[in-house]
Structures are given as structure tokens and as C-alpha cells.
Symmetry: D2
Subunit: 344 residues, 4 copies
Amino acid sequence: MIIILQSDAKVADRDSLIADLKSRGYGVHLSEGVERTIIGVIGTPERDKDNLVEHFEAFPFVERVVPILKPYKLVGKPFKPAGTVINVGNVQIGGGTVCIMAGPCTVESPEMLFETARFVKAAGAHVLRGGAFKPSTSPYSFHGLGETGLKLLAEAREETGLPIITEVMDTRDVELVGKYTDIFQIGTRNMANFSLLREVGTQRKPVMLKRGWASTIEEWLQAAEYIASQGNYEIILCERGIRTFENYTRNTFDINAIAAVRELSHLPIFADPSHATGRRSLVTAVSMGAVATGADGVIVEVHPSPETAVKDGPQSLTFQQFEQLLEAIKPVVEAVGRTIAPNA
Amino acid sequence: MIIILQSDAKVADRDSLIADLKSRGYGVHLSEGVERTIIGVIGTPERDKDNLVEHFEAFPFVERVVPILKPYKLVGKPFKPAGTVINVGNVQIGGGTVCIMAGPCTVESPEMLFETARFVKAAGAHVLRGGAFKPSTSPYSFHGLGETGLKLLAEAREETGLPIITEVMDTRDVELVGKYTDIFQIGTRNMANFSLLREVGTQRKPVMLKRGWASTIEEWLQAAEYIASQGNYEIILCERGIRTFENYTRNTFDINAIAAVRELSHLPIFADPSHATGRRSLVTAVSMGAVATGADGVIVEVHPSPETAVKDGPQSLTFQQFEQLLEAIKPVVEAVGRTIAPNA
Amino acid sequence: MIIILQSDAKVADRDSLIADLKSRGYGVHLSEGVERTIIGVIGTPERDKDNLVEHFEAFPFVERVVPILKPYKLVGKPFKPAGTVINVGNVQIGGGTVCIMAGPCTVESPEMLFETARFVKAAGAHVLRGGAFKPSTSPYSFHGLGETGLKLLAEAREETGLPIITEVMDTRDVELVGKYTDIFQIGTRNMANFSLLREVGTQRKPVMLKRGWASTIEEWLQAAEYIASQGNYEIILCERGIRTFENYTRNTFDINAIAAVRELSHLPIFADPSHATGRRSLVTAVSMGAVATGADGVIVEVHPSPETAVKDGPQSLTFQQFEQLLEAIKPVVEAVGRTIAPNA
Amino acid sequence: MIIILQSDAKVADRDSLIADLKSRGYGVHLSEGVERTIIGVIGTPERDKDNLVEHFEAFPFVERVVPILKPYKLVGKPFKPAGTVINVGNVQIGGGTVCIMAGPCTVESPEMLFETARFVKAAGAHVLRGGAFKPSTSPYSFHGLGETGLKLLAEAREETGLPIITEVMDTRDVELVGKYTDIFQIGTRNMANFSLLREVGTQRKPVMLKRGWASTIEEWLQAAEYIASQGNYEIILCERGIRTFENYTRNTFDINAIAAVRELSHLPIFADPSHATGRRSLVTAVSMGAVATGADGVIVEVHPSPETAVKDGPQSLTFQQFEQLLEAIKPVVEAVGRTIAPNA
């Protein structure tokens, strides 16, 4: 941590700050420049870090505090340079494979779910997605089938052999959802729901952590750190688009983040081109880009007849389009030296 | 709702869409232009609204769906044109008064809380703020004293007579927090935590709903609609800055939103200049602007010695600065024809 | 400037960097921490500054370079702590007054211009605004009357005595516009048109520099520095809203920037609530906020019949609304201890 | 165009609006709903479009105007569905090839330019990039060698046979730059410099139009329409990242825009991963993503020793890294069924 004093800071100010640092057990490296005094703090204990930055910025004669260390540790690349590989049943996430998760936005009925599950299995998907608890901007919209939806997902898993992923939104539902799902999904709106992060952190099942639509990469990794700090290291990051001024697409897919996460973290990184674009016609092209840039997998919305979907119809692929997507990304997967594993 | 077909939509497409609408009980108003066919939908039932937009956007031959009605109702201006006034003890929120809420970011200890409570009371504040459960980007930071903090807040209320406001972050804590607080606060990170919104909606105490840092005004009003839809109409909106590319300030205070909410909704609207700027030196000037534009109150962070604050020190006012703020806004309050009520 | 090396930087790397610094004439302050080596650079010559940051960030073993000094000087507060006051004819800009600039977006015809000029003069405006060269997103829209418009503005000045402000968009037009106008306006799209900034910097007439809609406050002040660096110190900054995800308003008025500029710079700072909101119904409330926060003036669009305006009709005030705005801000101006000078 | 009236609009309002429309020669399609009156406008002449939207939004009883047609025509996909292919010497831009443009940010000296030109030619680049006129946020930074730089670029072309691309920033320089360059580059800061767009529109050389860092895809296509409207149809679009809240990278590369432009326009679309990331370590991965998503080429910064670069060192590739980039994208280019043409 480096503390930069204001140009008119007095010697007494400086000394009081140094005394404060020493009383906390830190070493001090003083640099008196022509225009500014700069204090290097030596030996910052990891867990105090965040508060110290604010603490010293609160001094009236301090201009700025520059943190040096990254604000996360367990999910940082140096913690596990070889990269995390997660196994869910026979499915490998991370490592040299590209994993395909697909299914409807929402579990609407047994028929549509089973039809979709069978189809995506036959087409080559590795994991079945589907929402039983759904966030919805309007209080009057459909909020999912709840436990009934979870049971249907479990039945679909029985039939197809595909592991399932589904969202949990409420700390009170973690146990219930955990009875059925193979992978917890934390949605974009809950990336900074710290109670929920801690709760899934105490579970022993993998968690897909979607990026908050207005969260920086660093905040996202800190959210992952919450989960890891509770002992659950099986975290899959998922870039799903951020909110910007652009309005042709529903969100802006931050493909830089795919490459950045690969250099900052050891966790697998997925892309969700359905939410990142909001437009079915762009999903395949953006999936190809995500895989070429280094994504470990994609999660896409597929629906037997998107125009009857309860939610996310405009961005859901038809069965035929999903087959085309798989066909289109295969050569890209190979071009980057990866493989799509068989799903049986 | 208006449905605009793509330029190459076929007659059969159009007819299938019209049949779909009619089967749902809507009237149809067809307009065949030179370049586009446009279908006006007549009689949309309020509660279906959201899903219908997505439903029809999912048709491959539909270019765009334009909703006509606002996606909220209970919190909209026409529902209560005179405006909502909320009474908490002797304190009036909304109407012609400007209400001052002040206190520390976090309840750190009995001493600092009582000292602050006494001071802000003496200076003229109407409500005491203070966090017992604190969201924190880092899992290693301080997360608040929990119930101990709530008890201290209640004691401070006993002593000063000031009603209290404190944040609730977890559905499981709503009952506990409700035992102590006078006003629930929903923080920016939980604006779209729909489970939590519904839970406080079932309570019979006022709720301050902070705007999500990346939420539009319309989404914010829909979040308020969640609370209202459960029967709790005592909602105070609070603009606390949105996330933009600007980085000199912690957030960008969207003062347009103050004026916009006043024309769109009947709910009282507050400003939080502490979080909106992140810089103590800007808090008073921005408070003055907020009040001049029409805010019904401000909520600010005050700390006996900001440089020792556990959190938000850089944006916390000293006691002296808080007095100056009150002095500075008084003439502005009068200039806009409002009053600051005495706080005893 | 502080240079932070990567955790795996080698001693030889460090030494090569230090040698580079010394060869450029800088002193070096070395701080070897437990986790990082940090190099403080002493004596950075002002004019090299920008390039040095990039220069050292380009070293593969450098993690980050932290500049210490502000990247502008002539427009910074310390350069002229008392604040700049600009006189245009009898009109004072800056100091204790609040100055009102008003007029149509575009000079459409002699009739509408003269009618508007007479009205805003009678109502109390100090400066007449009007566009002769208009930026327009579509190539097929109206682009202004050009020199004819300038002549009409000059005639309106003759008749009313109001100084005029008009936009210049092309380096080739600076001389022509300068023949007529009293104040040059640089529009938001040209804030980073450095050729144009330099060109108006060589003129001896005041320049209003609107903030780029996606420019930080620091970049804006650097743009002002361009003008000042050519010898023209009579610069008026104008916040006109920035581009964000919010779409109820045309832009997001960054009122923090009003307060921030007042602490960072000695230049007068104006607000343009017409562009900042894009909605006539919000213009007065936001003007009041801007003045309360410390704006030295406002510039608003007024039109005899906004619904026939060639451009910016939705945000133009009617004559009656402009009178109401003036009435509404007067008590706010007084509340902050300023005055609106008589305009004759 | 559809005009939605406010819920309290009167019949007389409606009729005055219809009369206005009819007087302008439009047909009217009236739809009286339960809650709103909606007026469909039939036969909007293309060139009036923009102004009509604002015109009708300015009516006090109009809630919203919804334009139906796209605000560009010449650059829209339907105008040339087969796609534009541009030939510059032997180099083909667009069609089934992927074109590589490379070179230093700035022409610094003959030696570094020729060394880089020879290298990128040998490595397989098709076009040499290099700046002679440089935009720079600070007035005190290096602004390029001007005509000397242009001459050096022309010499490098002589020696290597590579066509050149260089930026023009000032309308007064278009003729001069045109004497030397093969392709004009319009930088991000000038995307909405309409005078400059018109000026290069009158030239008969291709123009690369970079996207404004805060411009929507639609505004970008309208900027291209400016150029096309002057008769120059040889336009190359280039996505170079947009400004968002994310700060780990210099900009956010909007890869959705690559896919979107391919469905909206017939113009070739390039990616600039150097500016889009600002980090050398991410350039190759993002280039791979851009090509997989459908980019017709990439333009990257290469420098013999980035740590001595006058500008953009942190994002410039070394020679070795540029070779690695070409190696890495080749299989991706093939995976999407394209080719990288030989450059001799």
C-alpha cells in the first residue's frame, strides 16, 4: 500500500500517520519528493487490507491510497497455476475441454423440459440448464415452478444422464436446491449478495458464479473469493455481458474478461452468449468468439419453440439453431487445441 | 403494445401472430405501411405485460415490440397524485418537509454510536442511520456487529428519541431487524434481490429502497412495485449514485433521477450524497443541489473521527462538517418553499 | 510517478529500469517490500509526464505506473486560486454572479431568432445562444444556416445588446465564426478534437468548452489545458450530461462534476440542463440543482414554439417556461449567496 | 414512425397533430386504445426522418415517438447484400479473406519504421499502419511528425510493397494526407466530427472508420452514412473498444458489435485489439475471438521495442509476439472458412 499525501500536508500530519502505521505493526518507507510526500507501507497483513485503504484515505491530508496487492487470494492464479478442473459426474469442466450447457431459461412444464433435455443430449450437450426459481424485473411475471421445477430437472437428469445446473436466489432455498441440483448457479443480480455467496460457499457442490452486470472483473473475483473463503473451491466463472450505453444488444459481452480471467485466476471461465447478446441471431457467432478467446465452455438457452417461451424467448435458440451452433464451434474448438468431449 | 414486423414478414406470419393474439383475448389493430406491417394490441391485461413483450419478440419475423404502458402501477404517480407522506414517530417523510437522516456507516461500538447519535440529534437530524449488517466487497472485511449492533441502535433511539434506519441484507434477517428498526433499508446491491423485496413487502414498517448502481429508473420503480405488491406502500426511494466511467468520484449522482421520480412516482425521494460522491469535500454541495432539485431528504454518513472509521471514512463528515451542511442547506430548503422540521 | 514492479521481476530488470530513469535525469527512490519492489521517481519534468507513464508501463516486468501529479497545470486551481472571472461586454462570467445564456438550438430564420432574442432579453438573460453550424447524427438532417446564421446572430446582438455564443466545429471556420461571435462554443463531440482546441486557443475571445459525453473530468480539464496552452485563458467549462445506461433521460447530468470542478480548477463552470436531460419537464428542476451546487451559470434552449423547432424541440423551453425557470432559480441563487445581475 | 399520445391528450391535440402530418403529405393510421391513442405515420420521406421524430416529441401531449426505419440506408445490408469488397493494390479487404494491418502506433523515426515495416511484411501483414498526426489527451505530449511522417510511410511502402493506412484528424490535412496514404483512418475521437467525415467522403480512397468510444452501433453506421452520402462507399468499420466502468482493460471490446455489424451492414468490419484491451498480454486471445466471430481483419500495434515507444507501448506487440499472433489466428481463420492471403 502506498499513501500519497496532499501537497500542503504538514510534517505533523505526516508524523501522525506514520505513528498510526507503526502502532498497527507496519513498517514505513518514507519518500519525500519535490511536490509530494509518499509513504510506502511495509508488511500489510492480508485481512486488513481493504479497510486500511479506506482508513488512510479518510485522513484529510491524504490525497490517495494505492493498494499494491490484489484483493483476492484463493481464486488468484498464483494460488493454483495449473488451473482448476471440476468433475461433475462424467463431465469435466476446465482443463483442455470445452463444455456445453444448454436448456430452457425456465422449466415451464414436464413436456417441454423433457423434450429439450432429450434433444440437447442427443445434440451433444454435457449439462442441462433450467430455472426453477427465476428472477424477474416485474413482480407480476412468472417466477418459476419452485420445487416442482427442481423435481422435473432431476427427472430429466435420470432420463438423459445429464447433470443439471439451476439458479438459487435466496439463502433459505440453498438447502432445497442442493437436494436436487448438481451445480448451483448464482445469477448476475446476486453476484454481490454476500449472504448467498457465503451460503453456497458452505456447500460441497460446484457453483457457477455469473458476473454482475455492473461489476468489475476484480469485484467478480472478490465475489468468488467469498465462496472460496467458506471452503468451496469448485467455482465456475461465467461472463454474461455487462451493462453499457449500447442498446442494440441486451448487454455488452466483455470478451476481454475471458482473456483477463485466464491470466488472473485459476478458475474455469464460461460464456453465456444468450444473455450477453439478447438476440438469437448473434448467439452462435459470439459463442465462436468466446471459445476462440479461451472460454472453457458456453451456457446457452434452447427452447422447443422460443415464441411460446415464458421468458427469454428472443434469445433462445431453436433445436435446429442449437445443432448449428455445435457444428459451428467444433472447428473453432479444434483450432485452439481443445476438444468437446462425447457426452455419454 | 405495438408489434413491428420485419420487412420480409409474410402474410401467413402476420396472420399466425394475429390468431395468437386473438386466442389470448386481445383486440388487434392492423396497420400495413409501405415498408412495414405494424400490429397494435388492444386490451393487454396488466399482469401479462412483461411476458407478452418477450413472447412476441421471440417470433422470428418480428422486428421489435414496443410496450406502451409503464411496467409499474402501484408506485406510479397516477395511483396517488397527491404524493405519499410517511410518518415515523414524529418524523414526517415526504410532503413539504426536508428530512435529514445521519449517522455512522457502521455501528462500531457503543461509545462512537451514542456520541454520534447525540451530536446529530443536537444538530437537527430527524433519523439516526447506522449499519449492523454491512455488505462488503471483500470477504475479509468487517461485516457488522449483527444483533449487537441492532440493540445499540435501539438504545441510541431510547436516549435521543430519534427513529432509526438500518440495512437488511438477508431474507432470514428480516424478522430480527424488524424487531429493532423503524425503517428498513435495502441497499444498492440488493435492489434486485426479489426475495428480499417481497419479504420486506410483507412487513408493516417503511422501507428505504436504494437505487441499484446499474439500474435504470424504470427498473428501480419496478423494484418498488415488488414491495408495494405485497401490501407495503410505505416506500422511500433513495438515489445514491450510479456506476459510470467517471472515476474521480466513487459514483455519479444522477440528479436527473430526483426530478424524474417526482414526475413518475408518488413516493418520497431521498439523496445519499455520501455514496454518490465518495468524497467528503463534495457532500455538502451535492446535498444542496439535491434539495434544490426536489429531494424530500438526504441521508449522510457522519463519524466522530472519520479517519478511524471501519468503513466509508473518506466520505463521512466530521461533526463540524455536518453542522456546516445543515447550515448550508437551510436557505436552499427555504428557497424551494419547504421546511426542515424541528427534531424534538 | 511511482513504478510498481511485478512480483516476479528480477534484480536485473529493476536495475535496467533504474538506469533508464537516471539516464533521463531523474532521481530514484527504491522501496523493496516483501511482495513487491516499488520505485519512486523524483523530479519528473512536467512536459514529459504522460509519455513516461506509458513508457514504463510498457516494460514487461512492470505491473503498474501511478502518476502523482495532475496532468494539467494552467487550468488547475493552484494556478489561480481566486478563480477566473471573464467579462464579455457588460456581462460578468464567474465570480459571485449567476449568468443566464438562452436561445434557440439552431438559428432557423430571422423571425424566430429575433423574437426569441427579444424575449430572453426582456426575461433577464445575459447572453444569446444559437447555432449556425450544427452537428447532426444523420447526414440528411439540417446542418445550420452557416454564415447567414452568424449574421443573423450579430443582428440580434445589435438589437438587444446581448452578447452571443455560437458553436464552431471545423478548424477552417474558426476565423469566420470569430468575426461574429462573442464566445466560441466547443460542442461535446469536439471536446477531444485537438486541432480545433488549439485553433480556438490562439483566438482572443472566450471559449465555452462542453464536456465530452464520455470524457472524465480529468480529460475535460486536459482539453481545457490545450486551449490555455495556446495562450487563451478565458475558458468556461460546461457540464452537459454524460452517456450512461439510463435511458429515461437523454444524458445523465453529472452534478458531482460541478462540485468537483470547483475544487480542481479556477475556471467558471456552467450547466446545460437542456442537453443533460433531453426533457423540457426536467430542465427547471435540474437548473435549480446546478445553481445550488455551485454552477456559475446555465445555458438553456428556448424556442417560440418547440414543436416546430428544427432540432432539440423536446428539450426546448417555451417562453413561458423560460420565465418560470428564471423565477424559480432566483431564490436559489440568493440562497447560495450569489446574484443574477441585471442584463441592461 | 409511430406517435404515442399521453394518456390525457385531448381530441383537439390529436387532431392538430394529424393536420400537421397531413399538411406534410403523410398518411395517418389512427388507433384509439383503451389507455392511449397511437398514430401511425405512413410514407415518411427518408431524408426528413430524424427531424420528424424530434418534431413530434416536442409536442407537449406526445409521450413518445417510435421510429420504424433505420436511420441509415447506403451502408445498410439491404443496399448491397453480397457485401462490400475493397481492393487496395493487391490487398483484398472483405469477402472471404482475413486481412492483417500492423505497424507502430506512431512514426517515430525512419529506422524504427523501416525495421517494423520489413518485419511485419516478412511475417505476413498486408497493410502497414503508422501515425503521422497523433491525437493525444495531453497538450504536452508528442503529436506526430506530420508530413515528415507521411513521407516516411510512403518510403516504407516503396520498400516493402505494403499499402499504408494513417490517421487524419483535421479537415485541413485531408488533402495532404491523401497525397501519401492508401487508406484514411478516422480515429475514435473523430467518429462524430462530421466536417471531417464529409471531407473524406469526397475523396476517392478507402476510409477506415473507428467506432467512437461512446457511440452506439447505430450512430457509428450513421457516421459511415455521412461518408457514403458524399459518394465514397469504400468504408471499413473498425471496432476498437468502448468506454465502460471496467478498468482492468483500457476499453471494453464489444465483440457483439462484430456480429451485429455483419447483420446490419454490407461494409467490412475490423477489430483493433490493441486499443480494445490496452494490454499486450490480451491482444492475441482477443484477436482470435474477433476472427472467430466474423471480423474481416485486425489492425494491431507492433513496435521493435515497446518499452521505448513514444506512445501505446503497453499495448504494442513485440516482433516475436506479432509472429505468435499470426500463428495463433491462422487455425481460427481456417476454422471459420476463411483465408489469410499471401502478402506478396
